[in-house]
Amino acid sequence: MKPTVDKLIDQMQMLFKDLAAKDLMVPNVISISPDRTMEQAKELMRLKKISGLPVVENDILVGLVSIEDIIKALERHRIHDPIYKIMTKNLVVVSPDETLPQIFDKFTRTGFGRFPVVDDQKRLVGIITKEDILRGILEEFRLLYVRDKRRQDVIDGEALNRSLITGEEINKLGADFAFSIDYVEVSLSGVGAARLKDFLKGRGIEEEIARKVAIASYEAETNVVIHSGSSGNIYCFLYPEYIRVRVEDHGKGIEDLDKAMQEGYSTATDQIREMGFGAGMGISNMHRYSDKMVIVSEVGKGVIVEMQFFLKDAANSA
C-alpha cells in the first residue's frame, strides 16, 4: 500500500507544485494599525474570530499580533499599551510567487499556523493558513485548472509532451489516431469525432466506449471550432486499460474556466447556435462522458483538453 501512496503523493506534488501563494491566500486581510492598543487588537480578533492579526502602517506590514501576544499583554497588565510595543516583529512572510512546496516547508520549519503574504514593497497583500492550502488543493481537484506559471510551462514547453493526468510522456507523433481540426470551415465541425469513432470501432473497441469517447471529443472539437480562432488537433492513444484523447488548439484560450464550466454559459455566435451548439454544455458533456478530464488554458495561448476513458469500468457500467 505504502509505495502506492508515495507514488500518488509524488504525482500530486507534480500537479500542485506550481500553485503559488497568490492563488491560495485570502486577500483583503483584516489588519490593525500599530498605534492602536492591545485591547483593541484583542476585541477585533474576538469579533472576527481570528487568531493572528497583521499590523499595518501605510500599507506596509510591520508586525503581527498573535493570541500569545495578547496573553502576554494581559499577564503583564500591558493590555492598554499600544500594539507596536508588544507585537511580534520578527515575521516570517511569504511572497505572492512562492510555490506550494516552499510554503509547506515554511509551515513545517516554523510551526506557525499562518503567514502574511507581502509583495516586494513589504505591502500586505494577503494571508495564508493551512486551511487555505487545503481548500486551494480541493478546488484544483474539482477541475485541474493550472494557473499562471505552470500554465505557461504546459503550453509553451515540454510539459506539452506529458500527460496532464498521469504525468507520463506522450509522443504525439506516435498517436494511434490524429486529426487536424479545420476551424475556418465551421460546417466541418464533428468530422474529427466521427472519424475517431470509426477508428475506435475498427480497432475493436466496444460501441458503448467508442460512443463515449466520440461524444466527449465532439464537444472538444466543436469548442476548438467555435472559440479558439485557431487550428487544433485531436490525438487518440490506445492503452490496454484506457483510451486517452487530447484535443489541443493554439487560440484564444479560456479567460474564466470556472465560468466556462457552468452549464449554460457560452460565448458562441448565432452561426454556432444554428449548428445546434453554443448552449454552454460542451465542458459539462466532456465531464459527463470521460472518466478523467484535465483542461489547461492560458489566455492567448490556447486550450488543451485531456480525457481518459477506462475500458473496464466502462464495460462494467454499460
Partner: protein, 117 residues
C-alpha cells in the same frame, strides 16, 4: 414500428437510407434542436426529430448511434447534410409537419420516448 410506416405517418420525403425503410425497426424517439442535448441524453437506436438541417445533425447522430434523423420545419436540406447521411448510412427523412405534430402523431402510434431504455 417500421421506418416505412414512420415515413408515411410523417408524410416524409426520404433523402437517404431508402434501402433500410422496410427493415429498420424503430421503437424510441426524441426531439431536440440542441446538439449538445442530443450528445448528453440521446440513446442508441432512437429516432431523432430535429429542426436543424446542418451536417452536424448527422454527425451527432452517427456519434451517439441514432438510427434515423427526421428533419422538420426547414424548407430545404443542404446537399452536404444528405451526403453526410449517405456516408454514415443513416436514414434521413424530411417531414413537412411541424415538430409538435410530428412528435404527436408518432406518440399516438405508440412510439415511446427514450426513458424506457
Amino acid at each position: 414500428m417500421k421506418l416505412i410506416d414512420i415515413s408515411k405517418i410523417l408524410e416524409a420525403k426520404v433523402y437517404s437510407g431508402e434501402e433500410k425503410l422496410n427493415d429498420l425497426e424503430i421503437d424510441r424517439a426524441g426531439a431536440a434542436d440542441m446538439m449538445s442535448d442530443v450528445l448528453a441524453f440521446a440513446k442508441p437506436g432512437m429516432l431523432l426529430i430535429t429542426g436543424l438541417n446542418t451536417p452536424q445533425v448527422v454527425r451527432t447522430a452517427s456519434i451517439v448511434g441514432i438510427a434515423t434523423v427526421v428533419i422538420v420545419r426547414k424548407k430545404q436540406i443542404p446537399a452536404e447534410t444528405i451526403q453526410a447521411a449517405k456516408m454514415f448510412g443513416i436514414p434521413l427523412l424530411h417531414s413537412p409537419l411541424p415538430m409538435y405534430t410530428a412528435c404527436g402523431v408518432l406518440y399516438a402510434h405508440n412510439l415511446k420516448d427514450i426513458r424506457a431504455f
